[in-house]
Amino acid sequence: MDFVPLTDADRQVMLKRIGVASFEELLRAVPSAIPAARMDLPPALSEPELARLAADLASLNATAESHGCFLGAGAYRHFIPSVVRYLTSRGEFLTAYTPYQPEASQGTLQAMYEYQSVLCDLTGMDVANASLYDGATALAEACVLAIKETDRPNLVLAGTVHPEYRQTVRTYLKQTAGKIQELSAVEGTVSVEQAGEWIDSKTAAVVVQVPNRFGCLEPVDDLAELAHKNGALFIVVVNPISLGILPAPGSYGADIVIGEGQPLGTDLQYGGPYLGLFACRQALLRKIPGRIVGMTRDAHGRRGFVLTLQTREQHIRRAKATSNICTNEAMMALAATVYLGALGREGFRDLAVQNLQKARYAFDRLTQLHGVRPLFPPPFFNEFALHMPCDPELLNRRLLEDGFLGGFPLKRWDPDLSSGWLVCVTEVPTRAEIDRFVEAVKRAIR
């Protein structure tokens, strides 16, 4: 199946009109010294054959649907209302592209304006862009912005920021930043004392994640004060669902808020496509990376929306652009907007509270098991680190056979935390499922 509608009769009509005798004549510019492509590919499949192949492959995976999921560490299983999938599968959104012609793209443009608005609602920031690739690249872009804005070379990252985010920052900025320092973790959060020693007049930004990669809450007020006292930007990485109950980072001094937007209505999909959240203070507006949608009026005075402040972008500014991003994650941004619209003001708070309550219930039950203890003390949101009396990788293999996706073995990030197990409990599992999970853990660690 090739989805090409040309018939032989079409080909004849078209070649004649073009004025060539054969298709090959159209390829005269291609030098004959370039060998013709030889490709060793599997044979073509009809739709039923393809569907069967795909179903067979998909059936080899253990999923958050086939298994009870207590795994997070950067990607989170939440219930997605059916309207989210329905509306994001509409071809009018799905098969359009970047809204270069606003008159024929008002649907996308208004939806992106609404996305920017709800993101500001959540974060307490003034402005947001219309999405970046994912949380990790959003952080890298925020650091690029901070270095340009402050004209300073160095970054101070909390070592408790998701390791993949820190690695991405290093990859992006190895060539262009000065020192990238990482604050060490003490009892699950960074040391304000160390931050005080490191943050100085050459620091472009201080980066912290809330809740951090162990689920813990950082001393944000002290860090914000240290950053601002030294003229650095304060960048906060968030889990957006937590903002249903945790304060908006705008209320504790964040200059830029970034995050992984996947929990807002995007499927787990083995890690992507996800959604890079980016919001900041008004003062940074003209340095923001990526698309921004603005409201304006048309020639007849009607309200409408356009891509705006495009002189920041690569298609206009080329080498001097604020970022190289072109294609973004607009469908995930649309999913987030529909998701937040469905939950609404009260529903979103309820959701966060259910995450908080269920995680605490699971924490209390798990820490009663023999040999299991908290790695770090509460408070936490929906994720917490435990010390386990057996190898967490082995534990997970046993749990997988028992129908559960266990927590994240922290030794994959830090060899020192060989017994560490990061457990995530969202609103999805019922009490009965949490109880069964606790029983399965009990059997597995015996």
Binding site: E25, A55, Y113, T137, G272, G304, E329, M331
Partner: protein, 506 residues
């Protein structure tokens, strides 16, 4: 031609809602927030079934949000109506011909959406133990192998989230490659006809950008290149076919010149649709290439994304690939950690897997002969449309094009003051999305037209008829074109005001 009424969609009348502080005029569709009423909900969770504790027991007072985020409060019915009405304000590939040059707006097979939505693919957590992720890992491994075949490369990374991200990844690899040989290089050479992402990516990865002028055909001459590429050049970034839709006939000579200087050849694979199954980047001197799965491999463009930008490289660059790579060992597909020379991570997890699942399905559906029919169709459609239009809008370069071509409205601008932008706007009235306009920058009043292989001959003829009619209108009633569109829900939005007084949220 007068298009059928269905192509000229009449939009619903504007809602008679009161003005808000943000609404200077008539409303097409209220904002979601304007539809809300306190207490309404579009979704309700089951009641909490674990023992409830006071939130104050679970969080310190400073960590409890005082006021909930002021999200809209709408019913499910209103939510669906709102977004359906917004959907109806869009043109899309599924509803309109969408000849947006350089973007390859081909049909996006629906079966691929169904496949990507299978719970086995959609609901798999990225940290799932490898033995529980064999289906996805195998798919990624096989896609990697197939892309190596299609691109003529020795290794592939599937991680980049989009074309520009692929460019960045490749350039960082090039930097590391030169450094590892004890000869760090600082310059990237880019033609002035290149996509804006090329210089932007080079600059983001810490290179000095050197622009070389292309000739009137958008082509790079060896003499121009000779003065730009030297021992400090890390990479020459080339687009082939170039952004005028023309194949670079000197590509082999260019490659040997660039290689002689010790630099690497990079192909911006945005135009890979023209080459599929005919010639491979790896066989024409390129060391690195990215391919846009949302263009070439039919992933829907999603109103702007997501896409995917896998990068293929020659063996000498393999050690620098970002981590992790999928490998097969002892019959098990695994994620191999980074080697010591890897540039590291370019994102979280392993790539836009959901998009890659669709690309895999597309390539499996087509096979090698199908991919060749894609490039045949793309080239034939572009040349046919060009032939239909050449007496309407001059084609600056009179030779066979590949998958897209450039027409120019320069003459109409001189005689009637009608610009490419005006023609683009008027096309919307006829039910067609507009070509890419005013790009590449080297052609005045450019209309960059890429029909793609999935459009029928009849669609191309209807589009050509509309452009012919617009050209006639431009001569007989230029005001009609200059003030277009007339049948769209809004017309000529004030971009100056939008930038001067930014209103970016409610």
């Amino acid at each position: 031609m007068t298009p059928p009424p269905s192509a000229m969609r009449e939009h619903p009348p504007a809602s008679p809602l009161p003005k808000t502080p943000h609404s200077p005029g008539r409303l097409l569709e209220p904002l979601l927030r304007e539809l809300g009423e306190p207490g309404r909900r579009g979704f309700v969770l089951p009641a909490l079934d674990v023992p409830e504790r006071a939130v104050e027991e679970l969080l310190p007072p400073a960590w409890i949000r005082k006021d909930p985020a002021p999200l809209p409060e709408v019913s499910e019915r209103d939510l669906v109506k709102h977004f359906m009405r917004l959907a109806h304000l869009n043109f899309s590939v599924e509803t309109n011909f969408y000849p947006l040059g350089s973007c390859t707006m081909k049909y996006n097979p629906r079966v691929n959406e169904e496949i990507a939505a299978l719970p086995g693919f959609a609901q798999i957590h990225p940290h799932t133990p490898e033995q529980g992720a064999q289906g996805t890992l195998r798919l990624l491994f096989e896609l990697d192998q197939m892309l190596q075949q299609i691109l003529g490369m020795d290794a592939v990374t599937l991680q980049p989230a989009a074309g520009a991200h692929g460019e960045l990844t490749a350039l960082l690899m090039a930097k590391a490659f030169h450094e590892s040989r004890g000869h760090p290089r600082h310059k990237v050479v880019v033609p002035d006809s290149a996509h804006g992402t090329n210089p932007a990516s080079a600059s983001l990865s810490g290179f000095e950008v050197v622009e070389v002028r292309s000739n009137a055909r958008g082509r790079i001459s060896l003499s121009a290149l000779a003065s730009a590429v030297d021992e400090d050049t890390a990479v020459f970034m080339m687009t082939n076919p170039n952004t005028l839709g023309l194949f670079e006939p000197e590509v082999l000579e260019i490659a040997s010149w660039v290689h002689e200087k010790g630099a690497l050849m990079y192909l911006d694979g945005a135009n890979m649709n023209a080459l599929l199954g005919r010639v491979r980047p790896g066989d024409m001197g390129f060391d690195m290439v990215h391919v846009n799965v949302h263009k070439t491999f039919s992933i829907p463009h999603g109103s702007g994304g997501p896409g995917g930008g896998p990068v293929g490289v020659k063996a000498s660059l393999k050690p620098f690939l970002p981590a992790p790579q999928v490998e097969v060992r002892d019959g098990l597909y695994r994620l191999a950690p980074a080697g010591s020379l890897s540039i590291g991570r370019v994102r979280s997890f392993y790539g836009n897997v959901g998009a890659l699942v669709r690309a895999y399905a597309y390539i499996r559906a087509l096979g090698a002969p199908g991919l060749r029919r894609v490039s045949e169709g793309a080239i034939l459609n572009a040349n046919y449309l060009k032939a239909l239009l050449k007496d309407v809008f001059p084609i600056p370069v009179e030779e066979a094009c590949m998958h897209e071509f450039i027409a120019t409205a320069k003459a109409l601008k001189q005689t009637q003051g009608i610009k490419a932008m005006d023609i683009a706007k008027r096309l919307l009235d006829y039910g067609f999305y507009a070509p890419t306009i005013c790009f590449p920058l080297i052609v005045e009043e450019a209309l960059m037209i890429e029909p793609s292989e999935t459009e029928s001959r009849q669609t191309l003829e209807q589009f050509a008829d509309a452009l012919r009619k617009i050209a006639q209108e431009a001569r007989e009633n230029p005001e009609r074109v200059r003030t277009a569109p007339h049948r769209m829900p809004v017309s000529r939005l004030d971009e100056v005001q939008a930038a001067r007084e930014p209103n970016l949220r409610w």
